[in-house]
Symmetry: C2
Subunit: 193 residues, 2 copies
């Protein structure tokens, strides 16, 4: 992230158990602890949370963050059809919509870059465990946006994850990163603010 004024509003959405809250906390911690940025991470639970789509919000900025809720994300990750249906209309024009091809079928056009990847199937194949699915998703998202460096994420994983599970988490992260085209990986984020 360069020193001009930048603010990224990210929503991870899916169902309970997919780990979207943890993914968003890891991203926020990487930005704050290792990149000197500010971040706010939140879960808003209303009546709709009881039946359905879980969402976790992160705002990352090099300035103060006054209002912590995301209304229009510029990066939206949707890991279930329900989450996609509910949130995809809210995406900021020019943003990025990342979905999992195993769970989500695109039903409409949005004014955003739409990327659909078989993250779930790939992480199961390469890691054998769905428990690190969220880390794979984080890898793919980072590969597409480069919001923070991969090193910063790896350092947060080292702090948070029990030693015996660290190799599995690292592999899942690399699997996510490697699903994104190599030519796209080297570039800075194309997401318009």
């Amino acid at each position: 992230m360069s020193m001009e004024k930048e603010r990224y509003r990210i929503v991870f959405s899916g169902s309970g158990g997919q780990g979207v809250i943890t993914a968003s906390i890891i991203l926020a911690e990487a930005a704050v602890i290792f990149e000197g940025l500010n971040a706010v991470q939140s879960q808003s639970y209303g009546p709709e949370a009881r039946g359905g789509a879980t969402r976790a919000d992160v705002i990352i900025s090099n300035r103060d963050i006054r209002f912590p809720k995301v209304t229009q994300p510029n990066i939206l990750i949707s890991l279930t059809q329900e989450a996609y249906s509910k949130f995809s209309a809210s995406i900021r024009p020019g943003g990025l919509l990342l979905t999992d091809s195993h769970f989500v079928k695109h039903e409409r056009k949005v004014d955003a870059r739409q990327v659909s990847l078989p993250m779930y199937e790939t992480v199961l194949e390469k890691c054998g465990k769905a428990v690190v699915y969220n880390i794979c998703v984080l890898g793919a998202m980072l590969g597409l946006t480069r919001l923070v460096s991969t090193d910063s994420i790896l350092k947060v994983l080292e702090k948070r994850v029990p030693t015996e599970l660290l190799p599995l988490n690292r592999t899942a992260f690399e699997v996510g990163l490697s699903m994104v085209e190599p030519e796209a990986r080297g570039q800075r984020s194309e997401v318009r603010e």
Copy 2:
């Protein structure tokens, strides 16, 4: 929580690794999923987060929650001296301040009910593991406030915690509950809004 308008602002504060974010997420989920309330849970990370005190905020209400940040908590839990020093002045008059006697020495009077309990030492003695310290703290806080029912917390633990760790988590929660005087445990919260 009765049906009149009620709103509780809770801040869990401590250091990284004490599990304050997880404790606050469990509380928020219990309120939303099992008690039909609304809740917002958030972490605000600014420059101060890099060196020091971690905090996790929860707002629980039977109405809509528009602004998700807590400025004046009516329930403040501080698990390190640094967190206590930083946040205790912000407590709402008539609120509750819960600290751990192993980590925090009270240095000033606040217009709040101050409760200091040896939660850390007791959970180590009874459970043998510091990893469930946050669950013990949650138990003590629930025993003092009855914000949500203990059943709702236990149901969230059943959903979130791997089966083999469930007995340990249940015990830690009971240990926290049992540290609060039995006569105080049956009453509804005394925390003024």
